[in-house]
């Protein structure tokens, strides 16, 4: 069981510092005791429910980590829900997955059919309980943790993970990246995201490292203050964090303890990486990982590596050769089992030899994975994957909109942005459809750039004319 692995690790490190946010901190001993108390609170809220399904929808905090451990100790299955999810998205997740309980922040817009049950233990997180649904999909017998990935059908896919997969993801990451008990990790990625979940949560506890949790926007000012205050040796964040750091004055002297910086989830601008390294002397690792299979690569020599590094322990990769890219396929010890709410979809991507076919195209160059493209049109804005179908459907439901297409374009800063082309009357104010989406979906799913047309340009087969749609956004002034 995963909780046995975690409990052994936590108890091995005693009074060493375990986890901290800006308001509080716990030693390993205190983390163990706090999660024991909180697990009793979880059980009290869900009497008689077997293997309760508990969603955790909150920002990074000590309370989040305590709750995660507490759910496992209570014999439950934690479902890590994106904090930014809107009420409708959370309702879809709750109904699709049959959540029994949602642990959330006071301000979280929770589904209206749930019963608010007050704070969990002494707080600060709140709880909302849901009636038992007897027709909910059965969990796989060995599932111990569930996380989500953007689907391509208008609903997020819920990935089921065995405890062993979660454990191996963390252990192989710690082993393959040289993480040790002397390290302190400052993590600004959300714990519900694979970037944080795999590099920072259990991996820190396995080796007895300190985990410092940043929340809020990862601006250079906030990150550098926390780095100095925590004396962290590792920094974990999305590319936007590093873009912010290089926009501000930054020098090696300001970050005396930092040894490694880690980015993933979205392409890292090579110029950003080079500027960061030049100014700090700290290697910036841009590793490859996917939600369904965990962290997959790490560069042994990040300053000279041509790509995203070599396979981590427990990972096998297949891709094209130099000059001949192919679909990237992976077999890993950290692989998920299936999608709880999309039967057969996960399995259809796994071959007879156990390799998972990713949506990435690339090649192995001197053993390092170099990505060259993608086979799907999943949109990636700053590390957040967005299902274009979900946003298009929401926009098409707005008053005055006859049709909608959502796509990813480069904005005038040279950064990926979410764009929409709406078929509507020319005097339609884009603020209306944006507000319509804002009431339904997470804020990052609201298109930043909108064009209004009489009809969506389509090919003779009826497919949207992507090239023509993209050209509509070419007129933005480039400010970089």
């Amino acid at each position: 069981m995963l909780i046995d692995v975690i409990t052994r690790a936590v108890r091995a490190h005693g009074d060493a510092a375990a986890v901290a946010d800006r308001q509080s901190s716990l030693s390993y001993r205190e983390l163990d005791a706090a999660s024991d108390r909180r697990s009793a609170d979880v059980r009290r809220l869900l009497p008689g429910r077997e293997r309760p399904r508990v969603g955790i929808q909150a920002g990074n905090s000590v309370a989040y980590v305590v709750t995660y451990l507490a759910v496992l100790k209570a014999g439950g299955v934690p479902f890590l829900v994106d904090r930014a999810s809107g009420a409708q998205e959370t309702r879809v997740i709750q109904e699709d997955c049959g959540l029994d309980l949602l642990v959330h922040e006071e301000s979280t817009p929770v589904p209206e059919h749930g019963s608010r049950c007050g704070v969990l233990g002494t707080g600060p997180l709140h709880t909302t309980r849901f009636a038992v649904r007897h027709d909910r999909p059965d969990l796989h017998d060995e599932t111990e943790v569930c996380r989500f990935t953007s689907g391509s059908t208008g609903r997020p896919n819920c990935i089921e993970f065995r405890g062993r997969a979660v454990h191996r993801a963390a252990a192989n990451w710690a082993d393959g990246t040289g993480l040790s008990g002397g390290d302190g990790i400052l993590c600004f990625a959300s714990l519900s995201n694979g970037l944080a979940f795999n590099t920072s949560l259990l991996s820190a506890f396995l080796v007895g490292a300190r985990l410092h949790l940043g929340s809020g926007l990862p601006t250079a000012g906030a990150v550098s203050r926390m780095l100095r205050g925590s004396a962290a040796t590792r920094l974990v964040g999305f590319p936007a964090l590093y873009e912010s750091l290089v926009r501000r004055p930054l020098s090696a002297e300001a970050l005396p303890d930092l040894r490694t910086a880690i980015s993933s989830a979205a392409p890292l601008n090579p110029a950003t990486k080079q500027q960061f390294v030049d100014r700090t002397g700290v290697p910036l690792q841009n590793y490859f990982g996917i939600a369904e299979a965990g962290p997959l690569t790490f560069a042994r020599n990040p300053l000279t590596d041509p790509g995203l590094g070599q396979p981590l322990p427990g990972v096998e990769l297949r891709a094209g050769g130099d000059g001949e890219p192919g679909v990237v396929e992976v077999r890993s010890e950290s692989m998920g089992t299936r999608y709880l709410n999309a039967p057969g979809a996960f399995e259809s991507r796994v071959g007879a030899d156990g390799f998972y076919r990713t949506s990435d195209v690339g090649c192995l160059s001197d053993g390092s994975l170099v990505l060259t493209g993608r086979t799907s049109q999943v949109i990636n804005i700053g590390g957040r994957k967005i299902d274009a179908v979900e946003v298009s459907e929401a926009l098409a439901g707005a008053p005055g909109v006859r049709d909608a297409i959502v796509l990813e374009v480069a904005d005038r800063h040279g950064t990926s942005a979410l764009a929409a082309v709406l078929a509507a009357a020319p005097d339609l104010d884009p603020a209306g459809p944006r507000r319509h989406v804002a009431r339904r979906l997470a804020p990052y799913k609201i298109p930043s750039l909108v064009r209004i047309v009489a009809e969506i340009p389509r090919s003779s087969s009826g497919k949207p004319a992507t090239a023509a749609l993209r050209r509509m956004f070419d007129d933005s002034e480039n400010v970089q």
Binding site: G216, P218, T219, S244, R412, A417
Partner: protein, 90 residues
């Protein structure tokens, strides 16, 4: 000479517009009651805006503790002005 409130406001508006992805105009902001959430200001735009304010005006904006004061141009101007006074008094 210290910047006047009007100077600070015009600089903040310029920075907010310049940090957006591209479509936002001062007219859009005014029509939305100078509210950034009402114009769907993105998190990436917020990060660019905060960086630029810190670079140009030399004040630190705390995205965790002060985020509720980033919501309108008026509250942003008030926050930045407060920090500028603190810097001047230090």
């Amino acid at each position: 000479m210290p910047a006047s409130p009007d100077d600070i406001r015009s600089r903040i508006v310029r920075i907010v517009l310049g940090s957006a992805e591209g479509d936002l105009t001062e007219r859009d902001l005014a029509a939305a009651g100078w509210s950034l959430p009402q114009v769907s200001y993105s998190s990436l735009a917020y990060i660019r805006m905060i960086d630029t304010v810190e670079n140009e005006l030399g004040v630190y904006l705390d995205p965790e503790e002060e985020s509720d004061r980033f919501e309108t141009i008026d509250s942003l101007v008030e926050l930045v002005s407060q920090h500028l006074r603190e810097v001047a008094d230090a």
